[in-house]
């Protein structure tokens, strides 16, 4: 494979297996046990937006991708093992990404109208601020993860996206999405987009729950074909050129 040119581990027949062993340790929490994605992208699609060469993948694993959840691993994993991970990723890439059955254009309409998704989610500068930005979500999540996120929003609450409820000393209640949460304080944003910060010593209680404020029931509100359309739209969101 021409892409592996320059990979110093490429000639070692044991490198893929060895790379998988290291992958299991550092990469599975986001990319899944078999690299099929989760909180991080599905790597078996064989499409890498930071470049196609082994040296591109090496750089991505070493340095991370600024502005994303992909951190750099050069401090934790030796160069030899990073090259082996690259070979493992190559070995599982199928290059026949599952076809998305839906209609992208219809999905986009659903997103902004019937689905109401844009009330809370930002896409290329348009939309709400309460939920996660989706401008690049097609790179960031696997199809299966996105399907789960629509049908069962509480299935995987990412760190920083829990629901926080504060009862103030006068009994008033504030509920919103976590913007910060530690042993002495909590920060949150309510559904109107108002930002709050509280010290534990100055309120009656602060409660954090691993539930999503995203409405449940999209499986009933949208027809299966409409869910597919929405997924086709989300998978197509690959950011702007400037974001690259």
């Amino acid at each position: 494979m021409a892409q592996t040119a320059g990979n110093p581990q490429a000639g070692d027949p044991t490198a893929v297996t060895a790379g998988y062993s290291v992958f299991r340790v550092y990469c599975t929490p986001c990319h899944g046990v078999h690299a099929k994605g989760g909180r991080g992208p599905d790597l078996t699609r064989g499409i890498y937006h930071t470049g196609e060469k082994d040296s591109d993948l090496f750089r991505t694993i070493s340095n991370g991708i600024p502005g994303t959840d992909m951190s750099g691993f050069s401090g934790d994993i030796g160069d030899d093992d990073i090259w082996r991970i690259v070979l493992y990723i190559r070995s599982v890439a199928t290059h026949n990404a599952a076809r998305i059955p839906g209609e992208r254009a219809n999905g986009e309409k659903l997103f902004w109208a019937k689905g109401g998704c844009g009330a809370c989610h930002l896409v290329q500068g348009r939309g709400g601020r309460m939920g996660p930005e989706l401008t690049r979500i097609g790179w960031q999540r696997s199809l299966e993860y996105l399907r789960d996120a629509i049908l069962d929003p509480g299935k995987d609450i990412l760190p920083g996206w829990a629901t926080i409820t504060v009862i103030k000393l006068d009994g008033a209640k504030v509920t919103g999405v976590e913007r910060g949460y530690d042993n002495f304080s909590a920060q949150l944003m309510d559904i109107e987009g108002n930002y709050y910060s509280f010290l534990r010593t100055e309120v009656a209680s602060i409660q954090r729950e691993d539930r999503s404020l995203m409405p449940a029931g999209y499986g009933q509100r949208l027809k299966p074909a409409e869910i597919d359309d929405l997924l086709a739209y989300l998978v197509s969101l690959r950011g702007t050129e400037a974001a690259h």
Partner: protein, 529 residues
Amino acid sequence: MKNPAALFLIVLVSFGATNVSEQQLRDAQADSTTWLTYGKNYAGWRYSELAEINVSTVSRLAPRWIHQTGQNGSHETTPLVFGGMMFVTGPSNQADALDLLTGKQIWHYEKAPPPTGLGLCCGQPNRGFAALGEKLFKVNIEATLVALDARSGTVLWEKQMEDYKKGYSATGAPIVVKNKVVVGMAGAEFGTRGFIDAYDASTGDRVWRFYTVAGKGEPGGDTWDGDSWQRGGGSTWITGTYDPELNLIYWGTGNPGPGMDGSVRGGDNLYTCSLVAIDADTGKRKWHFQFTPHDTHDWDAVADPVLVDLAVNGQKVKAVVQANRNGYFYALDRTNGKLLAAAPYTKMNWSTGIDAHGRPQLVPNMDPSEEGTRVCPGLGGGHNWSATAYSPQTSLFYFGSTEGCQLMYLHKQEYRTGQWYQASTETDIPSEPATGAVLAVDPATGQTRWRFEMVSPASAGMLATAGGLVFTGDGHGYLVALDAQTGKPLWHFQTGGHISAPPITYLLNGKQQIAIAAGTSIITFALMN
């Protein structure tokens, strides 16, 4: 004194020689102006008699200076303090001497780590210096031990402990016992064979080595199937303690290798996941106690072995206590290794209790599996490595804990020299985020007296003081003072960076100071006037 200049002169005191004697190390607990060894004293108490900062005054605690190290990576050092300077090690083979009054850098040590060939599980942290005479001793990540001149930072000697290309590395602080520098290694995830070494402080020549994995034909060698002992792990990456009366060194040992696949190393796998008591002069094993026989969950037993005298049935017993990563607290008789008490301190689903011989009673089918096995505590354990503290004022033992479970996976793996050899790993369970706590435990019984609940796993070490306080940090960057009797938070300060290190305290010009490595900074605190 009417002249303000004369007042100023008072601080221009001499701190005496930059020198630490063997006697000073034995008497370290009595000297509040210094911090001379990893655990404050040989017993590993991390307790100070200083009480200027106490439950009544701690609200006036404020930062004095911040030294930004400029070094990327986890800062886990226990600073040493003597001769008017603070000696701190940083990640990636760096270290500094800082002026105690101002935080200014007096000298800087740096050695580039090998660009390739290192096998590392967890970055390049370093946990501190040891000192004797005018020398400082630290490990470098490529499994060397280096001696520096304390006044200049000049390298006096450097010795290779083992070959880093075979997966050996080093991160822990050494301790000095008599004229020897005693030090451990890291690398059980790379098919290494663990050891504890002693080096002559003057020459750097190795005096003895104790292998934590018993070889074929040696006592305990029959607890390893075939030649599996050759890759048996048993790292020694956290500093041990020393009882001068018994002349015994106590050191915790890490997980067997490969960590998650027990099928290739049948048997109890001595002396991994154990506490070993070693003769300080010869390096010979006096006794051992294995907490987790044939471990498959990566539960190193490296946490501080803290030496305390306990009242058991009305008798004083010389004991050693440890908050083990497997979720149990243990107290052992430190003269012979017999179990005195054991009690769980965190959520646990792999064991139902400890039998009379100290062996855990196992729940079946808790080994890692291809599809993932839910195990509590998780791979990092309840208490991991962060420093613990014992207060003779409260007679309580303090440590941080993670409350949670993980999925543990098995992935069959062939051994290749110098390569990762853990046979898989763990993931968090999204629906079960882990929390944490600081615990105060009665060391005679293991019963928890209080808990300070934390929103995420405890990350930092402990310091107990005669001011009735326990200092610690958290992963969100707070340095925290708790009431040592009740666990009530009395003071906190946002340092701006994750805290793994333990706080220390010492007297400077008559005022009590607190120091901590937080984020990539060293910060000191004292009471505002």
